[in-house]
């Protein structure tokens, strides 16, 4: 043995270590890949060895390879093995590897829960430390749920190092498991005032992160933070708090007023640039939130701008950058103050640093005026020529467009200049902003009448050179401008000098390489041009050229007909037929010019993108009411669209109407018949959903063309007026700017043609949108464009919860533990309460110290309270249990609604008081708010509740200990007598239950109960199991199996397998088939035991089920090892699918009265136990019920299945017999559960 060990050691030292690996890689530069592949093979071999140190070394090398980009997820299991080592050095390697490579979908993480829990409670502080660090990187929702309590315990550790880490990791836990936030919040708040700076900083950090996403919930902490801000000297903490305030001020202007003074003081006094900068930022945020009302408001702005100027002038580029960044925030609200520093900002445009130039660009927006616009744009264009990298160039381009077009082109005096700028911009290669330039061109051409001849000439030039632009067919690329060019040339063809040339340019074969939507516009506008040329030629009576023109089109259009783009193809086909038709007419000598031109006659105004949606429903019209019974959906979808268009476009109306007439109108009877038929169909169609408004409305329009709906469309002014001309612009600009901004006049320029694609008007409408909503929207129209910005998958939305509300009694951190029996015996003693409360304050200090010990008591009293509420005047059997002072605080821990409201109110008043008070007398601030936090009554109570949860957890641990006799932790107070036994088992914190608490007398002694059931055993191993469920996963249950080694030898390579059924499936690691056993991730030392968890998916929960399974393992003895197995049957009674769920009396009654519980069942039998209390406790414990109400020998209990079926039972004791009446939504489940209860009790 010893020699073997020596040999192992010697061999090990010759293994490659990390340094050797790195050296090797450096020496094999030419064939690195091959070398690393060899190393990975070696590592794989090392991982197979028994020796932990060898494995750790291998994993250490993997960490390095991971950094180089090699996937190491295959080693996940080995990493866990290394993590489970008892040696700190080795364990640490494992955790680092895990934090580098594990993530939410790493399936082996499921196996780590117990190991991490063990590490968290380790005696060695650094074991817990690395576990926390590691966990922070790979925490999953499951881990977060299961470990939340353990981390909560660490938050009160005596060692600041652990407290700090535990506090910090809570943020990650909240993100993964938002339900933990409310229960944990009071303790987190408590940590804000931790004596240790590091812990305090961590708590501030966590709350700031939380508040950043949902600031409104943290407003009540403002006084506390204010106090910290004025007292803390730690710049890190100060920065975080000040940042937090800038998120809070927009919600509460009074807060801003209070902040100004201390912040100003800080600005003057601090020497730390980082702090100074954050102060300025927050002052800016404050000033933005309170636009008026502060007398020295301008002074503050001036101070900020002055300080920022100093930053910008600093030689440190970092400060310059930040200065500009902050300046741009001021610009939004106080442009004047910034404008005075124009020189400085223009200077920054020439800075050698791109980041700084970009920031200066942001500010340029506010710097331009009519006088300097051309000059600034010129400068930017020069930059653009020089710029490397498309990002900066794109920014410049966007900025040029932005500053020129701002406030309806307010600063542009010469639009010819602007159009040529736009044309010049098209020469920029590789830009992403082609579409933006295009929409600017369209906008200007449409809205500035006077510029059209010039614009058309420029666009014709672009068209002629289209082959250059067409080379870039990238989406949103510069070729988008051709879209605008083609449209402008076609639409305003009367201004074209040489329409024929333009037409030919548009028919070039190169065009077919453009994106489809551009080609469509080309085809459409070819026809417009054709019409206008034809008209001119007709006026000149030039038959020859007319024919030739038709010839040209009929020969060239087929290239579009062959297009792969449907839209292009369709339009081209129509067009081709039209041209052929026209050609025929011309040959007959008919005059067609006017008719073709008529196709595009008339103007249209641009319509705001959301205008339709904002039209209010006229009075007396109920859109949800049927006018006629609906026709089938499918037929109603297409036609209404055409009819809507027909209404809007008078010129094309007749066209559509004609088409409609071709459709034979169904007779009234036919319609009636169809309706009937459809109704029946719908009734039998499970997929049929209620028609939405749109389709209802649509079908109405279709059926009743003369109905009021049509009138609505006609009567509502959807037209957004446009600007008349550049002259008007000039005039307007000379007027008061404010005024012009508010009511910009829009000219009468209109777009033609119904099919005008929307994109081109986007920019245009966006600029005017605010204006048009004011002017055009009828009263009552929804003017808000805001749509829900956060999508529902945003993890932070889930953290949006009211933290000031006291905890509800069902809001507890989940405890992965044995089922908890509700203590139905608790006396409802209302008189004692006030006294308790009083004591609580006194005991507070003591409480702090003894937290761990007390938990048990607290929990008890919490339970008591719960049943208090439920049972009201139930007989007070256990009065004595309450006498010990420790559980006093909890007495008011539970929401007593009146009391609670009062506390709430008080709190709110405090905040109000604090806010108001200080705005007048800032000097008093500190005093006031120091008091505030203490008034917070619920705070201590709530935290005590958490402790009780912690306690539960602790209990659970105890139960894992070998003794089969486990006490129900539930009925703690009644279990007093059992406490003594329990004392020998140490809690994770190694603290003993103090005798003073332990020997409180109990009134009824409940028998010991354990939910662990024997699964299988032989001479060497014994398995017991319990099932854990939760509402979080309706389809999953966790089977927790305790493996006990009964031998003096080591048992290893345990493999667990079951024969799956359709209904219950074992969740195995990725890639394994349903025959592969699951490896149990630990070995069993002699006479030890460990717990493994296996997750199953479950579909059907109404009947009890059994799975056959096998456990194989290797028993390692001195003489050699033997391979053995145990067969077992894993039973899943129905009760295992129930989750004890609290339910209040009123809720219970409502549920029973609601009539939802259609299934009934009852059972009567003679139980083994005579004591009703014990019977009730057993039902609760083994079958996962919770007592709702108990009156003497009657009790109602409640539970809910993992799939959400409620189960209500009424248990009565009648002359030694027990009668149980049950109600549920699921009959099978109910009767099975009743049978199971009978089996337990008889």
């Amino acid at each position: 043995m010893a020699l073997k060990k020596v040999k192992g050691t010697l061999e090990r030292v010759l293994d490659k270590n990390l340094q050797d690996l790195v050296r090797g890689i450096r020496n094999h530069k030419e064939n690195e890949g091959k070398y690393i592949a060899e190393c990975i093979d070696e590592i794989k071999q090392e991982l197979r060895q028994e020796n932990q140190a060898v494995k750790a070394n291998a994993v250490n090398k993997l960490i390095y390879l991971q950094m180089l980009g090699y996937d190491i997820s295959w080693a996940a299991f080995h990493i866990i093995e290394v993590m489970s080592s008892t040696k700190y050095t080795i364990k640490r390697i494992g955790y680092i590897a895990a934090s580098q490579s594990f993530h939410e979908s790493t399936d082996v993480l499921m196996l780590t829960t117990n190991m991490i829990r063990k590490d968290l409670s380790s005696q060695n502080m650094y074991d817990a430390g690395i576990a926390l660090s590691g966990l922070s990187c790979f925490v999953t929702p499951d881990l977060a749920r299961d470990l939340a309590n353990d981390i909560m315990t660490l938050m009160t550790s005596t060692r600041p190092y652990l407290r700090k880490k535990a506090v910090l990791i809570m943020y990650k836990v909240f993100l993964q498991f938002p339900e933990a936030l409310r229960p944990a919040f009071p303790r987190l708040k408590e940590k804000l005032e931790d004596p240790d700076q590091g812990v305090q900083s961590a708590a501030v950090n966590v709350i700031c992160e939380l508040a950043r996403k949902n600031p409104q919930n943290y407003l009540s902490l403002a006084p506390l933070f204010f106090k910290l801000m004025t007292s803390s000297t730690n710049n890190w903490v100060l920065i975080k708090i000040i940042k937090l305030f800038s998120a809070l001020t927009p919600l509460e202007p009074r807060l801003g007023k209070k902040l100004i003074e201390p912040l100003t003081n800080l600005i003057h006094s601090t020497s730390a640039m980082s702090l100074l900068y954050e102060c300025i930022n927050t002052v800016i945020a404050v000033l933005i939130s309170i636009s008026s009302g502060i007398p020295n408001h301008t002074a503050s702005i001036q101070l900020c701008v002055q300080k920022l100027r100093i930053l910008i002038e600093d030689s440190d580029q970092n400060l310059k950058y930040l200065g500009l960044l902050a300046m741009s925030k001021i610009l939004a609200t106080h442009p004047k103050s910034v404008q005075s520093h124009k020189d400085l900002i223009l200077q920054c445009l020439d800075d050698k640093d791109e980041s700084i130039r970009l920031r200066a660009l942001d500010l340029i927006y506010g710097m331009v005026s009519k006088k300097n616009l051309m000059e600034i744009v010129k400068k930017l264009m020069v930059h653009m020529d020089k710029a490397e990298g498309t990002h900066y160039r794109d920014e410049l381009l966007a900025k040029i467009v932005e500053i020129s077009s701002q406030s309806n082109y307010q600063y542009i005096t010469n639009f010819e200049w602007y159009v040529s700028v736009l044309v010049e911009l098209t020469r920029m290669e590789g830009t992403r902003h082609g579409r933006m330039i295009a929409s600017q061109m369209l906008d200007v051409a449409i809205r500035v009448q006077a510029i059209r001849p010039f614009a058309v000439a420029q666009m014709a030039l672009l068209l002629e050179n289209s082959y250059i632009l067409a080379n870039n067919s990238q989406r949103n690329g510069i070729c988008e401008v051709l879209y605008a060019a083609a449209w402008i040339c076609g639409e305003f063809s009367q201004h074209l000098k040489n329409p024929r040339e333009a037409l030919e340019a548009m028919l070039k074969p190169k065009i077919t390489t453009l994106p489809g939507h551009i080609q469509s516009v080309f085809v459409q506008n070819i026809l417009k041009l054709f019409g206008s040329i034809l008209k001119t030629l007709e006026e000149n009576e030039d038959q020859e050229n007319m024919k030739e023109l038709c010839q040209l089109l009929t020969s060239k259009l087929p290239i579009f007909v062959q297009s792969a783009d449907l839209e292009v193809q369709e339009r081209a086909c129509c067009m081709l037929q039209l041209v052929k038709y026209v050609q025929k007419l011309i040959e007959k000598g008919a005059k067609v010019g006017d008719e073709v031109g008529g196709l595009f006659a008339g103007d249209l105004n641009p319509v705001a993108p959301k205008a339709q949606r904002k039209v209010p429903v006229p009075e007396g019209l109920d859109l949800d009411k049927w006018i006629n019974e609906p026709l089938s959906e499918s037929s109603s979808d297409e036609e209404p669209t055409t009819s809507i268009f027909a209404i809007n476009h008078e010129d094309s109306k007749s066209f559509y109407k004609e088409e409609k007439r071709n459709v034979p109108e169904p007779t009234e009877e036919e319609l009636e018949k169809r309706r009937e038929q459809r109704k029946i169909e719908q009734m039998h169609n499970p997929h049929y959903l209620r028609m939405d408004k749109k389709s209802k409305k649509a079908s109405k329009v279709e059926e009743t063309e003369e109905s009021p709906v049509m009138q609505i469309d006609l009567s509502i002014p959807l037209h957004v007026p446009g600007l008349a001309s550049s002259d008007k612009y000039l005039k307007l600009a000379s007027q008061d700017r404010e005024k012009s901004r508010k009511k910009t006049k829009h000219g009468k320029q209109k777009k033609k043609k119904k099919g005008q694609p929307e994109e081109e008007s986007d920019e245009d409408v966006a600029a005017q949108h605010a204006v048009s909503t004011l002017v055009d929207m009828p009263e009552g129209a929804n003017t808000s464009d805001k749509e829900d910005e956060r999508n529902s998958s945003d993890p932070f939305k889930r953290l949006d919860m009211d933290l000031d509300q006291p905890l509800r009694d069902d809001e507890i951190l989940p405890v992965r533990s044995h089922r908890i029996v509700v203590d139905s015996l608790e006396p409802g003693d209302e008189e004692v309460k006030p006294k308790k409360k009083h004591k609580k304050v006194k005991d507070k200090d003591k409480e702090e110290k003894k937290k761990h010990r007390k938990e048990g008591k607290e929990k008890k009293s919490k339970k008591k309270q719960k049943s208090d509420e439920a049972s009201g005047s139930a007989s007070n059997l256990l009065m004595t249990g309450e006498s010990s002072p420790e559980h006093v605080p909890v007495a008011n821990g539970l929401p007593q609604s009146a009391e609670q409201e009062k506390a709430d109110q008080e709190k709110e008043n405090d905040l109000d008081f604090w806010m108001n008070n200080n705005s007048t007398e800032p000097s008093k601030t500190t005093e006031n708010e120091i008091k505030t936090p203490e008034v917070n009554v619920e705070y201590a109570n709530v935290s005590s509740e958490e402790e009780s949860q912690k306690e539960k957890k602790t209990k659970k641990k105890k139960e894992k200990k070998p003794k089969k006799e486990k006490k129900s932790k539930k009925d703690k107070k009644s279990l007093r007598a059992d406490y003594e036994e329990a004392e020998g088992i140490t809690t994770p914190s190694k603290e003993q239950v103090p005798p003073s608490q332990a020997d409180t007398p109990a009134a009824v002694q409940l028998p010991s109960m354990s939910s662990y059931v024997t699964l299988g055993e032989n001479d060497s191993i014994k398995m017991t199991y319990d099932i854990r469920t939760s509402h979080q996963r309706g389809d999953q249950i966790i089977v927790s199996v305790v493996f006990s080694n009964l031998t003096e030898h080591t048992i290893k390579d345990l493999e667990f397998n079951v024969m799956e059924t359709m209904n219950l499936k074992l969740i195995r690691s990725m890639g394994s088939t349903h025959h592969d056993p699951i490896k149990v991730p630990f070995i069993l030392l002699p006479n030890s035991q460990n717990e493994g968890q296996f997750a199953f998916t479950v579909h059907e929960i109404k009947v009890a089920q059994k799975l056959k399974g096998t456990l194989t393992y290797i028993l390692k003895m001195n003489e050699g090892s033997t391979h053995e197995k145990v067969d077992f049957k894993l039973g899943f009674p129905c009760s295992f699918f129930l989750v004890a769920t609290p339910c209040k009396g009123s809720g219970f009654t409502t549920l029973l009265e609601s009539g939802d519980l259609t299934e009934k069942s009852s059972i009567q039998f003679t139980p083994q136990d005579s004591e009703f209390q014990i019977i009730l406790a057993k039902v609760c414990f083994y079958h996962h019920f919770r007592v709702v109400e108990q009156v003497e020998k009657n009790a109602s209990v409640y539970s809910k299945s993992i799939q959400g079926h409620p189960v209500c039972l009424l248990i009565k004791k009648i002359n030694g017999d027990i009668k149980i009446d049950g109600k549920s939504t699921e009959g099978n489940l109910l009767s099975n559960v009743l049978q199971e209860i009978k089996t337990t009790l008889v």
């Binding site: 960490i63 640490r92 700090k164 590091g198």
Partner: protein, 188 residues
């Protein structure tokens, strides 16, 4: 929140990569490359902030970096972190490395990535700043290395000897010497 911490040299070779948000390995490499590309072309006398690359973050994220001799220390952070604060943190990190390795140079980071990870985990945890006080950090690191030494004990002695030999650049052959199977010899 800090989203990622990267250390690479002037040629873009990664020396440390720590991502606080999951990315697959190939994406991580891409991010390192992209960040290197962004950072390396900047002069030393320009500001240390960069708007985030496309791969990591988006508009809310910033790259904050410092360049020391042959190494770039890059932090990718969101707007809840103070820019200047993070610059200080990088300084703290580098100074801590300097204390722990005694005049740290690139080679130290190359050969002791594991140690660098340990040191970093005392500064930043799960993307949040854990500790900024250098003496506190150093105390923790020292305590842990003591623990490490006590665990290593005697068994580490041969390992140290061998690594000393390796450092002397003894021919690789020493690896090929097969030790006799001692237990078998005894049995025979």
């Amino acid at each position: 929140m800090i989203k990622a911490i990267l250390v690479f040299n002037n040629h873009g070779k990664p020396r440390l990569s720590k991502f606080y948000q999951y990315f697959p390995e190939d994406v991580q490499q891409q991010i390192v490359r992209e960040t290197f590309h962004l950072v390396s072309k900047r002069d030393d006398n320009v500001c240390n902030f960069l708007e985030g690359g496309r791969l990591i973050g988006g508009s809310d994220y910033k790259i904050i970096y410092r360049h020391y001799a042959t190494l770039f220390f890059v932090f990718c952070v969101d707007s809840s972190e103070s820019e200047l604060g993070i610059l200080d943190l990088i300084q703290v990190f580098v100074e801590t490395l300097d204390k722990c390795f005694e005049n740290v140079c690139e080679l130290d980071l190359i050969f002791h990535v594991d140690k660098v990870h340990n040191i970093l985990s005392e500064l930043v945890m799960g993307g949040m700043v854990l500790e900024t006080n250098m003496s506190e950090i150093l105390t923790r690191i020292e305590e842990q290395s003591k623990l490490e030494k006590s665990e290593a004990g005697i068994t580490a002695a041969p390992a140290r000897a061998v690594s000393a030999m390796k450092d002397m650049n003894l021919p690789q052959k020493i690896k090929d010497i097969k030790l006799p199977d001692l237990p078998n010899i005894l049995k025979n």
